[in-house]
């Protein structure tokens, strides 16, 4: 069993804990990464505010995961396929989903899964760990067709207990699939802490059972994530098979807006987790490298705030889909029962009908 500490280049203050790779001497990637991490957090704050004011449904906050999602999304090719769980909004935004549409799924509208910019990416997965197998299926298609593409899939620490995950690792290993599994181990599965979720010393150890490499990475360290994901993607592209990355982070928010974490975890723990905040860490490193300063910070905050605000306004303006949409996408061609039922639904929504929503005249 491995007893290495998680891969890390920056300590929680943003100071290098070991020599950083060469590319860190150039600002490009680091600045892009920081930009998106800040944007993601702004989006998250706005989403929670919308939910609290009745304009968004139950929402799963990404607070604290920016250091994982952004480096991964920036490292993926457009031809790779993302198979997310339900906390990967940052990845979806970076891969092209318009900001206003990123609100749609949580706003109760299927169009949040349908934008053309999503390409072949899967939508959010609610049944836990089911997405791990989809990623294996996608990767199987790549392998069958000899394509140099990878499927990248996320899961939480709780999800790794589920059979689907274990079955996915197993088939990915035995079929040598071009898939990268990323565990966002943020220490909590709703109210279940990591310690009572699994007796494995590291969740990355589950890779051993599948015969694939597993590595623990400091998920609050974007540089470490960059290195880990690049290695894993290259393995996949080169036909060397699957990798499991366990990214250690902390869920700084509630599980969802319907959860109250103060019921089951201590404030002290939360406070010390904030010390490990990935945005603070990267900002400090950027400052250290003279790539960043306070005025740039303010400008970025303002820019991203405005982007998010505009997107939120646009989202609020989006009217609901037509009633037809309930019926039109079950099959490529609707059958007669669906057609009949659709007409009923439309008629019932008209004035005088049992589902009329306007003001009765």
């Amino acid at each position: 069993m491995k007893t290495l500490p998680p891969l890390q280049y920056l300590d929680q203050e943003g100071q290098p804990s070991q020599p950083c790779p060469e590319w860190c001497n150039k600002p490009d990637w680091l600045l892009r990464c920081y930009h998106y991490m800040v944007l993601a957090r702004q989006f998250d704050t706005k989403a929670i505010a919308l939910q609290r004011t009745g304009q968004l449904g139950t929402y799963a906050s990404l607070l604290g995961s920016e250091g994982i999602d952004v480096p991964v999304a920036l490292s993926m090719k457009s031809t790779d396929v993302l198979v997310p769980y339900y906390r990967n909004h940052a990845c979806q935004i970076i891969r092209g989903m318009p900001l206003e549409e990123a609100f749609l799924y949580w706003g109760g509208d299927e169009r949040g899964n349908s934008s053309v910019q999503m390409g072949e990416d899967f939508p959010n997965a609610v049944p836990i760990a089911t997405q791990s197998l989809h990623a294996c299926g996608v990767a199987s298609a790549f392998k069958i067709r000899n394509q140099k593409r990878a499927a990248v899939t996320f899961i939480g620490d709780g999800g790794t207990s589920k059979g689907d995950f274990m079955e996915a690792l197993n088939v990915a290993g035995v079929w040598q699939l071009p898939v990268v599994f990323i565990i966002n181990n943020n220490q909590w599965a709703i109210s279940i802490p990591r310690q009572i979720q699994s007796a494995a010393a590291q969740l990355a150890d589950k890779a051993v059972a599948a015969g694939i490499p597993g590595i623990q990475v400091d998920g609050n360290d974007p540089i470490a994530m960059h290195e880990a994901i690049h290695n894993a993607l290259n393995r996949a592209y080169e036909g060397k098979g699957a990798t499991l990355i366990e990214a250690i982070s902390y869920r700084l928010g509630d599980h969802t807006t319907a959860d109250d974490a103060t019921r089951y975890r201590s404030n002290d723990e939360l406070k010390s987790a904030w010390e490990r905040d990935p945005i603070k860490r990267l900002r400090n490193f950027l400052a250290l490298q003279n790539f960043w300063d306070e005025s740039k910070e303010q400008a970025l905050l303002q820019e991203t705030h405005q982007l998010v605000q505009e997107a939120a306004n646009k989202y609020i303006e989006i009217s609901p889909q037509k009633i037809d949409s309930i019926f039109d996408y079950l099959y490529a061609e609707p059958n007669s029962q669906l057609i009949e039922q659709k007409d009923w639904a439309i008629v019932k929504a008209m004035q005088g009908g049992s589902h009329f929503e306007g003001e009765s005249s």
């Binding site: 299927e110 299926g137 689907d164």
Partner: protein, 327 residues
């Protein structure tokens, strides 16, 4: 080219035919490759198409379904074999939560053109869990199609249709009649329509509706009854979902009497749905109540008592007489 085949061989014929035509069609499942499937449904396919298109999977039904979904999202046309319907339950979460919903929840951006094949039904003296008939569970799920062939020719044509269908199809093969009937099947790549019943026998006295292996008993009962002057119209439902309501209604309006036969348990069975539809839309044409001849609301007994569970053709004859004599 005409082949003299049983239902099982017709399945094999269809699989080979479509795999030759369409490179995107792939097969996966336990024991499907080297072994050719425990019932030999995929015999010789590994040799012809290689291991990238005929994949032996680890033992994990959830995985088989989940991986098929991922493959289908990429435009492959996976045909997954679940070795027995009794083992489909771990795969149900993937089937119901994902296969059935992928098109709907992405508004058509992604879709799921997969087929899941499973032998189903009792009557082969098998150990427990190998005789399930839970087609009603699947029929209840929006976004799926459920197809049950009852003859070699229909198995061939319907399987081709299932593979070509852009939506997920569960193809349930009644294993009791896998080898019991030989038929001439033309290997012409012609599909039969999904979503259509088949009228196997015309008659004007009473309508008999059934599917799967029970079609055999139903036809036999109809033959026997014709010698007593009762002429039965026999309809093979074939597509459990979406149901071809119209064919059944046309027949019931003609005969005024209906008996539905299925092996699956009575309560919540597909026969209940058909009865309700007929009551809604053809009540005034009925001369007698609809009768259902079904399995009991029990687990299929271990095989020594299996015969007492499965309806036989005398049960069907009795139900017809009861219906015809109702005044």
């Amino acid at each position: 080219m005409k082949h003299n085949v049983c239902l099982l061989e017709a399945v094999n014929l269809a699989l080979a035919s479509e795999m030759r035509k369409d490179e995107e069609v792939v097969i996966l499942g336990e024991d499907v490759g080297v072994n050719g499937g425990v019932f030999r449904a995929t015999a010789n396919l590994r040799d012809e198409f290689g291991l990238k298109r005929v994949m032996d999977t680890p033992l994990a039904e959830t995985m088989i379904a989940g991986v098929s979904i991922g493959m289908a999202s990429q435009g492959l046309k996976p045909i997954a074999e679940i070795q027995f319907m009794g083992f489909i339950f771990p795969a149900l979460e993937q089937i119901i939560c994902h296969a059935a919903r992928l098109r709907n929840r992405t508004r058509g951006r992604l879709s799921c053109p997969l087929v899941i094949r499973a032998p189903f039904g009792g009557g082969i003296h098998a150990p427990e869990h190998h005789s399930e008939s839970t087609e009603a569970l699947l029929a209840h799920i929006p976004g799926l199609k459920v197809v049950v062939p009852s003859s070699p020719a229909r198995a061939y044509g319907l399987l081709l249709a299932a593979i070509r269908d852009p939506d997920p199809v569960i193809f349930l093969e009644p294993k009791r009649i896998y080898r019991s009937q030989q038929q001439e099947v033309e290997d012409n790549a012609n599909a039969l329509p999904i979503g259509s019943c088949f009228t196997l026998r015309e008659g004007s006295d009473i309508t008999l509706v059934s599917w799967g292996a029970m079609i055999t008993e139903t036809l036999s009962a109809a033959e026997s009854l014709s010698n007593e002057g009762v002429n039965c119209e026999v309809i093979d439902v074939a597509t459990i979902s979406p149901l071809d309501v119209e064919t059944i209604l046309i027949s019931v309006r003609k005969t005024g009497r209906l008996v539905i036969i299925h092996e699956a348990p009575r309560t919540g069975g597909v026969g209940a749905d058909i009865s309700a539809i007929v009551a809604e839309q053809a009540l005034l044409d009925l001369q007698a109540p609809v009768v259902r001849v079904t399995g009991y609301d029990t687990v299929m007994p271990y095989f020594r008592l299996e015969k007492h569970y499965l309806p036989n053709s005398q049960d069907i004859i009795d139900a017809v007489k009861q219906t015809v004599e109702f005044v």
